[in-house]
Amino acid sequence: MIVEIGHYALALALGVSVIQAVVPFWGVFRQDRTLASVGSSAALVSFALVALSFAALVTSYVRSDFSVGNVVANSHSAQPLIYKLTSVWGNHEGSMLLWVLILTLFGALVALSRRSLPPRLRAGALAAQGLVAVAFLAFTLLTSNPFQRLSPVPAEGQDLNPILQDLGLAIHPPLLYVGYVGFSITYAFAVAALIDGRIDAMWARAVRPWTLLAWTFLTLGIAMGSYWAYYELGWGGWWFWDPVENASFMPWLAGTALIHSTVVMEKRDALKVWTILLAILTFSLSLLGTFIVRSGVLTSVHSFATDPARGLFILLILIFFVGGSLALFAWRAPLLRQGGLFAPVSRESALVVNNVFLATACATVFVGTLYPLLLEMVTGDKISVGPPFYNATFVPVMVPLLLILPLGQSLAWKRGDLLGAAQRNAMAFGIAVLAALALLFFTRGGPVLAPLGVGLGIFLVLAAGFDLGERIMMRASGWRAMLSRARGLPRSAWGTAFAHAGIGLSIIGIAAQAWSTEAITVLKPGERLTSGRYTIVLEGMSPRSGPNFRAEVARFRVFSGDRELAPVEASKRVYTARSMPTTEAGIRTDGLSQAYVSLGEAQDGGVAVRLYDKPLILLIWIGSLVMALGGGLSLTDRRFRLAAPKRAAPTAAAPQPAE
């Protein structure tokens, strides 16, 4: 019964979304306020229905209702409750339902948001959002129905794919989806602005919190996915430039550009057409990512079995929304009033440079990801594009951007002083260069680029810190005055500093991986293996059983030089339902570095063991967290909580140096 209610609610949600997509458009067209405002209630109802449907699926999973095909394929009665819950989105059908849930949630949030949006803009945005919901609800109902009943009812389920039975992966999809799908709101606002034919600083102010929210969650989602791949796959890699990873990275790059361009639009009423285009492109890249992942057209290390029919459906959705919005853009963008002029040396120019570089970097990832597909269609040759390609293209584009980032950060709006900005960053730069030189000296014979990368990271962190420090200490004497200045600084200034410092921290972590070492051997109890700074001694092996798996656990003592760290356990598990083996790596955190142990096959009294020394690797994810914290801080900025200014009377660009 519950299952049928869920299915029915989902079908109803499709109907309501059609209303949400059509009626407000018609209202805007007919200048009828009542019709235009239908979008809000439709969005709320549609969210309530999808939430009901999602709750029904969750209930079936928690109760292990094996009359539902989706539950049978992805759950098992012996699973711990938490994994029964996360099984809901640990499969294609359920994760599409989560997709739609988040999509309608964002629609409902727009409907509820108290900010005084111009009614036409709100109506248009809700209608566009409704249209996206229609497409994905239809996709879910027609190709990926999670509520399919089975008859006869099997006695037991087939279990969730064991490598997904993990807390990291439990929270990774929701985070990532909030990011991915969150960009649908900026897309909807862009479409609404194009239909409306007007756009101003107020539009930017309305869109910016949504962009920040989506970006923050996408950052967390990507970081979580990367950490999961690192510890769960057992081969110590954290990023493979794999199509599935790039699928989430491209919207992130475009979204980062969008965050910066909306600032220019908000403060200086410029860069409007580009911002609209960027908003469209960012969500288009999210859709492209969904297509890449769901269709399996690109071979990925993260691929699972896929269904070509679904791929075709998503391709059609992709073509409709990307093509439709770009056509709308080509038709309506010339109507948008051109923005103001700006001086070549100014904060806004620096942000334009940022956008040029980020868009270019995103384009290199795009080419690398899709070129194999194109080549295969044209010549039939199959190729793979791996890390060497991105090291030769993406990295050279990003490095200059990061090098000049601190300069842009300390330039003033309207008319900046390049020399002054350079002077303000001279100290940070000097310290970073000294640090890089010292590292080069102490690691002679090692990789040359690593110390330079670490130096770049240090430069970014210091420059962000000094910039913030300077603002706090400006014209303030005594710590009391400084404290009040620190409190008085706009949250977005803190956000900027944290986000930029976060990139710096991540870069230090990434660069340091050039010094990571690996050793593989067969160990018998009592034998030792050394890699880099770490030595492990195999103490013994013992069998163990979990709720739905059997494991062979190896215990190791871990030494860093002469210092003994806490022991570590690595294991090989076999999940009984699928008789599928997995490797559980043993990881000992030592400061910011990690010793990483993973097991191979057992053989003649010993076991194959791989040990990595991963210096400073935690900085990669700590940096991502700091970046996301920056996004969150910006989101709490005062100006997003206050009523926005009236339309057509945008406040003069405030001289306060925010962003």
Binding site: N91, N161, L164, Y177, W235, R294, S303, A361, A392, I520
Partner: protein, 171 residues
């Protein structure tokens, strides 16, 4: 030889017109984009890796020393281990098989009779030195290239790679 004409001195603080600014912007964007395009074209030449099935290696005349990806089925009974981390196995498409040597730990879902993709260097004479064996996340997943390779040699059984499709939430 020509001598450059002395140009009219510019005013010290020249204001850019809208057009000039736009041109500057386009020039800058163009410069960055063409730089990136250059990098991409350059990288395409020597960083991309072609995928071949065992039979294709001879058909297409792959030269020894070429870096490539090799995919097919792990031939039953061909996996041999020596001194712990050294593994040899044969990759077959039903018609031809290639001997692969690999130093390292094999991924969890590496099994005889199942699809595999390895990356490394073709050494000639039916031998391949792999430096990575690609893992998969799902035991029913068959890399598309491998499926195509098998289809080409007529050894593809639909459904063999199939059963319940269970893609995860990992986008």
């Amino acid at each position: 030889m020509t001598i450059a004409q002395p140009t009219r001195p510019l005013p010290a603080k020249r204001r850019f017109t809208r057009k000039q600014r736009r041109l500057t912007l386009i020039a800058m964007a163009g410069a960055v984009l063409s730089l990136a395009a250059g990098l991409v074209l350059f990288a395409m030449r020597d960083t991309i890796v072609f995928f071949y099935g065992p039979t294709e290696i001879t058909e297409k005349g792959v030269l020894p020393g070429t870096r490539m990806r090799l995919g097919g089925l792990v031939e039953a009974g061909s996996v041999q281990r020596s001194d712990g981390k050294r593994v040899t196995f044969a990759v077959t498409d039903g018609k031809t098989s290639i001997k692969v040597g690999y130093d390292g730990l094999l991924p969890d879902l590496f099994r005889e009779g199942q699809g595999v993709v390895t990356e490394g260097v073709f050494e000639g004479a039916g031998r391949f030195k792999a430096d990575s064996v690609l893992a998969k996340h799902d035991e029913t997943y068959m890399p598309r290239e491998v499926a195509d390779t098998l289809k080409k040699q007529g050894h593809w059984q639909p459904g063999a790679a199939g059963a319940p499709a269970a893609p995860p939430a990992k986008p």
